[in-house]
Symmetry: C2
Subunit: 355 residues, 2 copies
């Protein structure tokens, strides 16, 4: 069966699906999966659609992709230029969704060496509470269970293994208000925050080896806010710090470390805004080892957080492998090429033993 993956990607990109507005695209995806029919069993919860085979095979591979995009950046309307498709969501990740819909078409015929589950979900580009995969694990975990999960996030043909954990922490500095003509009557909270910013700027993040992959950690102040009025010594300054940590570390240890970092810099209050565990690279998992080995795929560590960590947290080995250049995600210049889509589909068809 041949698939026009670039044409399908263009069709998907023509249906706006910024996070929170995925329903229309989910309708199209659901209709298409139902039309594939055959061995597929379709379920929908919210704007999340799951298509599974249940052939009694010895092993199940879950293949996932999100249907939402970040907000448009002057690139709302997809534009074809030969075998290149430009526009919002082309790389992140409607190209991957197109590959998944084509795979579903293949799977519908019932000939594969594994059972497979295609999961297309909403709300990946926004706060975790909106994440459709989170909802599925909470409300219908049997729908997303498997022996291996592959997320088709753009990786440019690499296997991006595991992922770093991420923590956002809010450090608040207190002060005492006073008239800015008599600042010695008060305490300037913004001045008190200088020490934390200085330490963030000077912090030398480690590079940690896990399964021979080098995870380069980081620590950043990502926002700061303080000030009452232009003639008032400010009594509050709030800094949000983002910590990215390698999968060698537990979530609790990483939280303790970054909280201590802020407290040592003089913060009066420290609050964890969100904290996500890291995922191990799992390169010794037999299925991942086979995929990497048979196809001689290049492997690198994933530095940003992805939903592989959610699968890992539920005991499911997972990796990122999908079409498109990850560096172009969330940029105005986002694009995807036909060849990368075709290559991804061919590899996954082969790996799943689709005949």
């Amino acid at each position: 069966m041949t698939h026009d993956l670039l044409g399908l990607t263009e069709e998907l990109c023509g249906i706006p699906s910024v996070s929170g507005t995925e329903a229309a695209l989910a309708d199209v995806v659901e209709a298409r999966l139902r039309a594939s029919g055959g061995a597929l069993r379709i379920e929908r919860i919210g704007a999340n659609v799951v298509a599974r085979t249940d052939l009694g095979r010895d092993g199940r591979v879950v293949l996932g992709g999100h249907v939402d995009t970040v907000p448009a950046n002057g690139n709302q309307v997809p534009r074809r230029d030969g075998d290149v498709l430009h526009g919002l969501g082309t790389a992140d990740m409607k190209g991957g969704v197109a590959v998944l819909l084509a795979l579903a078409d293949d799977l519908a015929r019932g000939r594969a060496r594994f059972d497979a589950t295609i999961v297309l979900y909403e709300g990946e580009e926004v706060a975790d509470e909106h994440n459709g995969l989170r909802r599925l694990f909470a409300e219908a975990p049997q729908l997303v269970h498997g022996d291996l999960a592959i997320l088709l996030e753009p990786t440019g043909g690499w296997v991006e293994a595991g992922c770093q954990g991420t923590i956002h922490i809010r450090a608040t500095f207190d002060g005492v208000r006073a008239h800015s003509a008599r600042p010695w009557m008060g305490t300037n909270a913004i001045h008190r925050a200088a020490s934390l910013l200085e330490r963030c700027a000077e912090f030398e993040a480690a590079t940690v080896d896990v399964d021979s992959l080098a995870y380069r950690e980081s620590l950043q102040a990502v926002s700061i806010a303080g000030g009452v009025a232009n003639n008032v010594v400010p009594d509050r300054c709030v800094v949000v710090v983002n910590r990215r940590y390698a999968p060698s570390r537990s979530l609790d240890d990483a939280i303790d470390e970054i909280a201590a970092f802020c407290t040592d810099a003089g913060a009066d209050h420290v609050e964890v805004l969100n904290a996500s565990m890291a995922a191990p690279p799992n390169l010794t998992n037999p299925l991942i080892a086979e995929m990497v080995g048979v196809y001689d795929l290049p492997v690198r560590p994933k530095l940003g957080w992805t939903d592989v960590a959610r699968f890992a947290a539920h005991g499911i080995a997972a990796c990122n492998f999908g079409p498109g250049d990850p560096e172009l995600a969330h940029t105005a210049d986002e694009r995807v090429e036909r060849a990368t889509l075709d290559a991804c589909l061919a590899l996954l068809e082969s790996f799943l033993g689709i005949t």
Copy 2:
């Protein structure tokens, strides 16, 4: 003539006049001045009311007060407790306005050694563009001209001489956005601002003697803002710095100095938001020297900016002298006592030679 100054202050406080809503109070003030009549000539421009005598005396004293207040702080309704009046505007500065209305009553009878101008104006507690005295100097400078100006801002019975200048400068730090999992691809603008905050915190402001008065200068970061999103290395951080400087320095020199301070700390852009000149203490001015000397008034420097600098900029020697505790201005606990009102009026009646 005896005046119930505390009762009059209570009446004035009963008419809300937060900046921008002074018209109703200006109506009452204008009606009262017109009722005093006699030698007074009344002019009104916006919510500003000016009452003058024109007796051909050898010298004119301008006495000024603003009719607006800061927003209420749970103290909207005035409350009498014996000879103390609590509530918004009691000290800053409807007590002073009450003294000015009583003085106008006296002046209406046409017996004083100076000509006098009573100026009651709007918009002092907000941005300079709303300041009624600014408007009067621009539209009708002859109405506010004189040989000496006394502002009845609360000074607790002291002469507060001159005033420090104030400059607000916006220092912007640039960076380069990147995903916060790969911060080495970008430049963190918030981290770059650390140096400026550090220098603000460590800055040792001078205390400058002018006419034997010690003007204690200051320099503060009064606001800071930066951040794009929690997973993005921020490309912009904006710090507003407030500089208060002694009247020994020119406005231009003070601007150059604070701009260089920010630039030296690495700011990429420096913009003056507003800049107000200082006012010299003028203790050698014959009229101020007489007032201080004859009544043996204690003198201290004014550290915050007041409209005395506006008079100074127009070549008119000016000082602050009024009823009420300046430390209580803009606090929920604002109040004024009958004795301080009576003492202020008696001194000004004597100084003006009202018989």
